[in-house]
């Protein structure tokens, strides 16, 4: 462990949070590098949270040009076309995030997630992807797993008033306080691929319906070649057909996945800012935990639905 002290400026700025997670955790945070891709509401919330927390560096990827729709839940970009017109989401958000905390290095990378190689991903301690296809999710996850160093991987997606976070910390050791002593804990995580191929019958009985509904919609988008969130209520009949096929293959009754829930996920393509704040907040906390090696991390799915108000952790592993 390095014994480098925090500067006076850092101590003053981070006073309240050092009282939560300690000086060691703060030091580790300030040396960590995080990559995010897919800059919509939830990820924006996440970026704000970890920049405030004093992460070492944050790299943004999102070449999409800003549009009114894309920035509907974005508080980093003024809704003025003469300001955002012709610029990418990553550029615009980067400029704004720099102001939040001058001690954090914020930078922008151009290109497709799938085009980057090992030497690029190796620079990071945590990678968060959103708004990308199932194929890209899986391929980034696999790439990270092949690196010589352990890089934490997260996906986050919000649909309607629901949100889902997936976490892969591979083989992870952390410390936690139990009564007066600190104990070491060990956890093994499956990849996204490994987790999602587990037969539904093999899962515990009470896994949240939202988990299954998200898998159906995700599969639908992949088959149809849609971008994530490019759905509407008009897709419901096709999705119900897909539900039937999947449920048959999994030997579960199709009423297992409520139609109303699927309908909401397909229709609600415009972001709901309170859910972005909640899910982006939970994700921020998770990344801070994983980097600092302190506190119980989520294993391995977090699901939130504003309709019932529950934020649930599901362990989808063998």
């Amino acid at each position: 462990m390095d014994t480098e002290e925090l500067t006076e400026q850092e101590t003053a700025l981070y006073d309240r949070q050092i009282r939560v997670w300690g000086v060691d955790a703060q030091r580790r945070l300030s040396k960590a590098n995080v990559l995010v891709s897919g800059l919509k509401g939830t990820v924006i919330e996440f970026c704000k949270n970890i920049v405030l927390a004093g992460i070492g560096s944050l790299t943004l990827i999102d070449d999409r040009l800003a549009t009114e729709d894309l920035i509907s839940a974005n508080f980093l970009i003024p809704p003025d076309e003469s300001v955002y017109g012709g610029k990418s989401l990553a550029e615009l958000c980067g400029d704004s995030l720099k102001d939040f905390n001058p001690m954090v290095r914020v930078s922008v990378e151009k290109g497709e997630l799938s085009s980057f190689g090992a030497e690029f991903y190796e620079k990071f301690d945590a990678v968060v992807v959103s708004c990308c296809s199932l194929t890209t999710k899986k391929s980034v996850n696999e790439k990270l797993r092949k690196l010589s160093k352990r890089v934490a991987f997260y996906t986050v997606d919000c649909r309607d008033s629901c949100g889902e976070i997936f976490v892969d910390l591979q083989s992870y050791t952390y410390s936690k306080k139990k009564l007066d002593e600190t104990v070491e804990c060990q956890m093994q995580y499956p990849s996204f691929e490994e987790a999602t191929v587990i037969p539904w019958q093999a899962l515990p009985r009470k896994v949240s319906k939202l988990y299954f509904a998200m898998r159906v919609v995700e599969r639908f988008e992949m088959i149809e070649g849609r971008n994530p969130g490019e759905t509407s209520v008009a897709d419901l009949p096709s999705v119900l057909k897909l539900r039937k096929e999947i449920c048959e293959a999994q030997s579960v009754n199709e009423s297992f996945i409520p139609e109303a829930l699927l309908g909401r996920l397909l229709a609600g393509t415009r972001e709901f800012p309170p859910v972005c704040a909640i899910v982006g907040g939970i994700l921020g906390q998770e990344v801070i935990k994983a980097i600092s090696g302190k506190g119980d991390p989520i294993k391995n799915f977090f699901l939130f639905d504003a309709v019932n108000g529950k934020g649930i952790i599901e362990d989808i592993s063998k």
């Binding site: 006073d15 949070q17 509401g41 949270n49 927390a53 809704p79 829930l261 309170p274 907040g281 529950k310």
Partner: protein, 649 residues
Amino acid sequence: MASEEQLYAIKGSKVLMVGAGGIGCELLKTLALSGFQDIHIIDMDTIEVSNLNRQFLFRQSHVGQSKAKVARDAVLKFRPHIKITPYHANVKDPDFNVDFFKQFNVVLNGLDNLDARRHVNRLCLAADVPLVESGTTGFLGQVTVHVKGKTECYECQPKPAPKSYPVCTITSTPSKFVHCIVWAKDLLFAKLFGDKNQANDLNVRSSDAAGSSEPADNVFERKTDEKIEQYGRRIFDHVFGYNIEVALSNEETWKNRNRPKPLYSRDVLSDELTQPNGDVEKGKTDDPASISAMTSLGLKNPQEIWSLKENSKVFLEALKLFFVKREKDIGNLSFDKDDQLAVEFVTAAANIRAASFGIPLHSLFEAKGIAGNIVHAVATTNAIIAGLIVIEAIKVLQWDASSYRMTYCLEHPSRKMLLMPVEPFEPNKSCYVCSETPLSLEINTHRSKLRDFVEKIVKAKLGMNLPLIMHGSALLYEAGDDLDEDMVANYAANLEKVLFELPSPVKSGTILTVEDLQQELICNINIKHREEFDEEKEPDGMLLSGWTQAIRPEKENANSVGNGESASDASQAVAVELEEGNEMVEVPAEIPAAKKRKLSDISVTRSSVTRIAETNSNKIVEELDEDDDDIVMLDDDGFSEIGKKRKSQ
């Protein structure tokens, strides 16, 4: 996303936010993004550096400016067309009366102290406006909904009183570091630098115990021509040496305790008077914020635990700097966690006392947390809680009472949940705030003065701001600016009388009516005379009961958490609100307290948990066929334990 009906309700609403701090910044942002068009926001605070790690609407360049105003400007940058009305003012100002509150569809609290929360609760009840209440500490948080007649009000369950310590523990027998901090802050610091007219237990000790020739007060006065170094050493020797010797002479006290060790400056420091690097010149204008004993002594790391010698140097140096550089402040200082020199002085004094009593020493960082009642705070929890507030606010705007929830944000999952919704409780029928239930007070009517009743009960316990006290039709006391001189004199005289000797005597069986015109709260108190009170257990010398004994007697620890900044200032001489669950402050005896707090923060009665499960399966249509909703009600170990504990009511 929000449905059409939701958007309609949002767009037509007018909301009041109280607090533009940790939760407030997040809340204002989320409200604006969600489509709210007319938001009013009250906050009396100005921006400080330690806010910037989470109050993301503020920048370094805003330090010192009004939170409400800067927050407004920052949000208008990304939502220029909405209306935000800021008030840089205290929510308890008379301008914010019932009529002011009536203009809003819902009030959203992001406050950091019990006092203001109770005040807003009363105004919301009086104005019949729904209130969404919130609080966070570290990774924990909660959101509750209070709608008159439908759910419990914020005060239906008694709130934890500030932790207070018996006077003698502080003045003579400290056993924990926090006792030393309270002594250093509320007694020694107040004595040396505060209002000289205020009663202070420090002088009681130093005079009566010793029978010394000079009046105790003079000990703390700097004599004319006394060099500041001599004065500092004299104070040091008096409080850490002489006073301890005096205390030791009372053998009875130390029968079952470790005897403290008197400390004198000549033993701790060599005889040479401390000469810091660089002379301090009188009259040089410095920024008071940059005056620091640590700086002049070359101590850099606030996380480091100083030796006894270092603490002694800091003590003398800080004392000297106060007299040389901040002389005009002396006599009207009260401890402020943001006053560097004050924190240094209190840290050093507490540590020297701790050394004397064999208590482990602490760093300035830790001491500051304890002395300033600093509630630790992170951005993420505030963001989550703000999101939950907006979700509840939208339900309130649609009068969707069956789906109101109180939600707990947990650090460790309970029944797999990190965010746990619970159906709100019904109003407590014996709540003196929302149900006009009389209270009863046991008090010695022959010894307690009206002033004790006003300060310790009406203000401290009932949280009234501008009270009026009546006995039948006789007006005994009234507070306010618009009273004529005769009345003021009359009330002032009444305050000093014992209850039994008031113009209309108060005795066993008397019913007093206490009213706050601003809060529109009125309650009756049945008086019972009682001769004796236990000094340790009932330090107020009176016992208020009524709603406190209703329904959930053991929930003393639950339900109120601060939002970020300092918790409310403890006004009593020896009272301090302890910080909960602070991992950094390793005062052993505080850890169980922290645990208990966390547990009770998430506790809910079994029946309510069952209720929510039933409600969900009945009413949330799309989940009719789900079986995962019952997860809340089954008995997990931790949960049923809490359930049992609380079920006993």
